[in-house]
């Protein structure tokens, strides 16, 4: 089953290197070390055999389940579809939808087909405030200084989970006796009982999981919230997902140090900007694929959403309850909560609320600061501060929030 397109002989390495490069271009994190391993692996197998090259590459160049699908595609494109011998077994379609599946097509479609393929979420014209006016102005017209300042402020955010005691211990002045170090000390002094060494448990911040709603109804806030998420994701224990019509994990995209680069990477990765919202379904997907395995266990989970649910609110209620059982705390930040006369009437919001530990605002810098305090486990007495700060800062906050929620 020697494939027709399989490289052999002295030029083979160049072909394989080209393949690795194509894979890198497709977004698989192929490092030089992995390429080296790939070449060695092909060498150890039968270099001319398609299936062997396929498996050698798949085993050495991929490092994540999400890479497999891309690998499959690039392999097909690069070495031809190989009618002579298809890869032994293609990655079977996972029972549940995969994260990045169809990202490219969807992204391309939404970019060529105008701003909104899917009908927008419910209209939000009810608020005719300066915020709204600013929000509808072209981004270019906004005062750049103001916007830059707000972004700088957003970038300075730190989101630290509430701390918990970890199983790891560290030398300390007080605390229980550390037998290890104490005995070592004794040995050093010829077995004479010496100083007692002590250790104490380390406090660790809990993992924070941010689920950012990027659907149509949240579009005005998406940029600001994602920048907030970017600042928050600098710690290694924060995970960020976007939800809309599909669930996308953007932690890796947000790891760019520069906020603008990170935003561009996220824009590239998220296929469902300004679509509808299927909160319940996506929450279930999150729990199935990540949460239940451990990501949500003992974590502080923050949902940044307005709770407009297109699907069945009962599903959302059930999934929020499930999340609540897994997570240490579930916090719902709803930018619409700050509106005068707001009541959680949106069906989804009302359904989820009984299973939420804290329900906070998320519309301004001050509100996000308050959110950070709640995540840290500070008591909810900062509410008064939020209210006054909210009153004081609407223009700049509005500018941030009215920023470009869609990349150019």
């Amino acid at each position: 089953m020697t494939g027709t397109g399989m490289p052999q002989g002295p030029g083979a390495d160049a072909v394989l290197l080209g393949f690795a490069r194509a894979l890198r271009a497709a977004g698989v994190g192929v490092s030089a070390e992995r390429v080296h391993a790939f070449l060695r692996a092909v060498d150890a197998l039968r270099p001319g055999v398609r299936a062997d090259v396929y498996w050698a590459g798949r085993l050495t160049l991929c490092g994540d389940r999400d890479d497999l699908e891309r690998y499959e595609r690039v392999f097909g494109a690069y070495f031809g579809d190989g009618s002579g011998g298809p890869p032994p077994r293609s990655v079977r379609i996972a029972p549940r939808p995969r994260l990045r599946a169809a990202v490219r097509e969807a992204a391309a479609r939404s970019r060529t087909g105008g701003p909104d393929d899917e009908p927008q979420g419910p209209p939000v014209a009810s608020l005719a405030s300066p915020v709204e006016v600013l929000r509808h102005r072209d981004v270019v017209e906004l005062d750049p200084a103001e916007r830059a300042q707000v972004r700088r402020l957003l970038a300075a955010f730190a989101l630290r989970g509430q701390s918990r005691r970890s199983a790891r211990r560290r030398p300390a002045r007080r605390g229980p006796v550390d037998p290890h170090r104490t005995v070592r000390e004794m040995l050093r002094r010829g077995g004479e009982p010496a100083l007692l060494r002590r250790h104490a448990r380390v406090e660790r911040p809990r993992r924070v999981v941010l689920l950012v709603d990027v659907s149509g109804s949240m579009a005005p806030y998406a940029d600001a919230l994602l920048r907030f998420a970017h600042a928050a994701a600098r710690g290694r224990r924060t995970e960020v997902f976007t939800i809309g019509t599909r669930l996308t994990r953007v932690t890796r995209e947000l790891s760019h140090r520069d906020p603008d680069l990170a935003m561009a990477a996220v824009a590239e990765a998220v296929p469902d900007w300004r679509g509808g919202t299927r909160l319940g379904e996506l929450l279930r997907e999150f729990l199935d694929r990540w949460g239940q395995r451990g990501m949500a266990r003992g974590a502080v989970v923050v949902l940044l959403s307005d709770g407009w649910e297109r699907g069945d609110p009962r599903l959302l209620a059930a999934q929020t309850a499930r999340l609540h059982r897994l997570a240490h705390r579930v916090i719902w930040a709803n930018p619409r909560k700050a509106r005068p006369g707001y009541a959680p009437l949106a069906a989804g919001m009302a359904a989820a609320l009984p299973h939420v530990d804290a329900f906070v605002e998320g519309h301004s810098l001050a509100a996000l600061e308050h959110l950070a305090a709640v995540v840290r486990g500070a008591d909810t007495d900062a509410t008064g501060g939020t209210a006054s700060a909210t009153g004081a800062t609407p223009p700049s906050a509005a500018t941030a929030i009215g920023g470009p929620e869609r990349p150019p």
Binding site: L59, G63, L68, R92, R168, P179, Q292
Partner: protein, 288 residues
């Protein structure tokens, strides 16, 4: 490779066979990811059995440290030695100190033991449960197959052990560790392969029962469950039905033993809504 593994009752597909072959040839660890119960851990025992090597297992947990994973000094014995030496009137301090940090006082924990035992299969189970600090220990062991003990020097494996790492993906394992490994994703097996696994692992179970149980599990997996059953559950179920003396499953029996496959009340409720009889009948017709 494949036939050696299959001789132990562990059925591998081509990708996994290649992974094991390369792991042996290139001395790289195999990094296994996949849903629970798809045979990640069983791979290590199968490899150990296939090569007649001892399986050394390191179960990871949060806060695991070098003294639990690599090595530790046997302090009580060291102290005793010291006392004995004193009683015997040994005064040569240098020699005494030298003796204290001797190999015989070294307690080899799994990683060191794997390097010292040749050949051996090392299983680092559920690496995602350990914390970041622990991955740093692993790096030296897995890339150089050596451990540096400050008091003693470097212990190196002449024949590197075969290493299997498993992860349930509860957290992202650091890339520095991953890129030293061969990555293999475990999928749920298809009907034919799963049936073959059941037949191989449970030869006592009747052919018909094996077929029915496999069909049922495959149907359950297609449902939208909180925790889709893995191969381990299929085997449990078949064993459970067999223990009840069944040679053929019927809908009633299947529902009664559902507890061996589904571990959530929500899942059980959903599964009760399935038409077991139809699935069994469909498979029966296919099998007949």
């Amino acid at each position: 490779m494949r036939s050696r593994l299959e001789a132990t009752g562990y059925l591998v597909d081509e990708g996994l066979a290649v992974a094991c072959f390369l792991a042996l040839r290139l001395h790289r660890p195999v990094f296994c990811e996949g849903d629970a119960g798809v045979g990640k851990t069983a791979l290590a025992s199968a490899l150990a059995e296939a090569f007649g090597a001892p399986l050394i297992r390191l179960q990871c947990h949060e806060g695991i440290d070098a003294s639990q994973a690599l090595y530790d000094w046997d302090f009580p014995r060291q102290l005793l030695h010291l006392r004995a030496a004193e009683a015997a009137g040994v005064t040569d301090a240098d020699r005494l100190e030298h003796e204290l940090y001797d190999r015989r006082f070294l307690l080899a924990r799994p990683l060191l033991k794997a390097l010292q035992t040749q050949p051996s299969v090392l299983l680092v189970d559920e690496i995602d449960r350990a914390d970041d600090e622990f991955e740093a220990f692993l790096l030296e062991v897995l890339s150089e197959f050596q451990v540096t003990i400050p008091e003693l020097g470097t212990v190196r494996a002449e024949v590197p052990p075969v290493v299997v790492l498993t992860s349930n993906r509860t957290r992202e394992v650091h890339d520095a560790l991953k890129r030293r490994c061969l990555y293999h994703w475990f999928d749920h097996p298809g009907f034919a392969r799963e049936l073959a696994i059941v037949r191989r692992r449970l030869p006592r179970v009747s052919a018909r029962l094996a077929e029915q149980v496999t069909a049922l599990v495959q149907a359950l997996r297609a449902e939208d469950l909180l925790k889709p059953p893995g191969v381990a559950e299929t085997l449990d179920w078949a064993a459970a039905l067999d223990a009840l003396g069944a040679t053929e499953a019927d809908a009633e029996l299947a529902v009664a033993t559902l507890g061996s496959v589904l571990k959530y009340r929500e899942d059980t409720d959903r599964a009760r809504g399935l038409d077991f009889a139809a699935i069994l009948a469909g498979r029966g017709a296919g099998g007949a």
